[in-house]
């Protein structure tokens, strides 16, 4: 009896993704590979993990229990790999950090000034990926660290830590129908919402969507321009609003159901398996301890 980690990984991915096909897409494998791995695991364990009564398999009670244990095994393996990589105590020559544009830039200056003083020879690259999923960049190795919005679920390979909250404000143009007193929830639905476009297929693509009709735009600045021209309404953070030339033409509707601030949690993410050099560790510790203040 073997029970390999690949089998457990396929099993956990299938349970979390909801189907073998979705798990295959997540793992970058063929659907038949996932199906076979799960089936082999059931044979090795002598237990049926999924019920095949419906089109997409559903976890059995035994499967629910085994799933918890499988997660633990995979986590212990990640921890072991993380421990191994901590032995490579060499300062990395290059560091790539992906930061969601929602993170207030003013907080970055002092942080990276200290970083430069502490690590004068590290070549730093900061990404502000608007059209890509930060977690995916960290996961596939294109970035060493990431700061992003909280997501419902992260790949098991990623560790995370909340680093603060950023308030979003709902804005529209002066002539927009929402630029009046006493705006109700249903009215938001009826008017076009302009959202940030991403090329990711993750659930983050649909974050903060409220309206039935939406536009997708790949630029915060262009979004505010469109809002100014009354094409629709949008969420934006304070520092983006303050920096926009359209600021004077934007108004915040008088929402009857909310104080007007929508706090969004920002999280630092890293890959558990990837070697953490002293520079990344330093930055991670600082980002983790430098709480973003909602009062700028």
């Amino acid at each position: 009896m073997t029970v390999s980690l690949d089998q457990l990984q396929a099993f956990v991915a299938a349970a979390e993704a909801g189907s073998f096909s979705a798990a295959a897409r997540r793992l970058g494998k063929a659907q038949s590979a996932v199906s076979t791995q799960v089936s082999n695991l059931e044979t090795d364990l002598g237990v049926q993990l999924f019920s095949r009564a419906t089109r997409t398999p559903a976890l059995t009670p035994a499967g629910e229990r085994i799933l918890q244990e499988a997660r633990v095994v995979l986590e212990r393996r990640e921890h072991l790999i993380g421990l191994a990589s901590s032995f490579e105590q060499r300062i990395e020559s290059r560091l790539i950090v992906a930061i969601d544009e929602l993170y207030p830039e003013h907080a970055l200056g002092a942080l990276f000034a200290d970083f430069a003083a502490n690590f004068p020879h590290v070549e730093l690259e900061l990404l502000f990926p608007l059209m890509e999923d930060v977690s995916e960049l960290v996961r596939n190795g294109a970035a060493d660290l990431g700061v992003m919005w909280r997501q419902e679920e992260l790949p098991v390979e990623l560790g995370f830590q909340t680093v603060g909250w950023v308030p979003l404000k709902l804005v529209c143009g002066r002539g927009h129908p929402l630029a009046k007193e006493k705006v109700e929830w249903e009215e938001l639905k009826r008017h076009r919402q302009i959202l940030v476009a991403t090329r990711s297929t993750s659930s983050s693509k649909r974050r903060l969507r409220i309206a039935a009709e939406v536009w997708w735009v790949e630029s915060h600045w262009v979004i505010l321009e469109m809002v100014k021209h009354g094409i629709g309404w949008a969420f934006a953070s304070d520092h983006v609003i303050a920096a926009s030339p359209a600021t004077s033409d934007l108004v915040m509707p008088d929402l009857q159901f909310d104080a007007g601030d929508w706090p969004v949690a920002l999280e630092l993410v890293w890959h558990k398996q990837r070697p953490h050099g002293p520079a990344a560790e330093w930055l991670r510790a600082r980002l983790g301890s430098t709480r973003i203040s909602t009062a700028l």
Copy 2:
């Protein structure tokens, strides 16, 4: 980066066995297979686990740390498999229990009478393996449960639980030089000791050896016969002494350094991975709760 369980298993086995060759024998694999697995693990982790300065590799400090984590991963996998097998709630048709002869037989009668009443259709086989290692029998599946002496280390696949203590008494013949008053420790060393022979290569082969000169005999009864004839001295348990025809010719030396009883811990062992049916579970619980009394 993969890091498979087979790699971790090879690594742990090598660390515990002291060499790749010994690990290969333990795992039933070719030496080259273990060597390659460990080498691949080092590559995958990016850490050197063994130093190759001497003939047999020695753990590096990083290897020591990783070893602990590897054990945890393997243990979690065993636990998962054990959980899976607990879902097979079917009473087994046959049960094989290996019990070291040191276990007092009088305690077995009532126990198995209850067992027969509770599981009338289970075919029971009791082994009293004198020439074989109980733990090895359980490990390779020749026995479902085992009762044995405590050992320095058990294979990771085995679970264990202390079930009691059995006093051993030191005996010699009436005409033996030790059959006098005030026997010192050094004198035990100088006279031949007769030990139980096993065909196992484990450390249990050397258990309780004190004297420089020893004989190995594959029978408790024959050992007492030889003791009776003054060939040497030996340890024996009360119930073996009481049942031997040589009883009246045996004396217990007047030890100056000890009360005369050498308590030996008996342990119940089982294979974590093997499905535990209700019968085995019942027996395990009873053996675990029925403490052997030193006062018969």
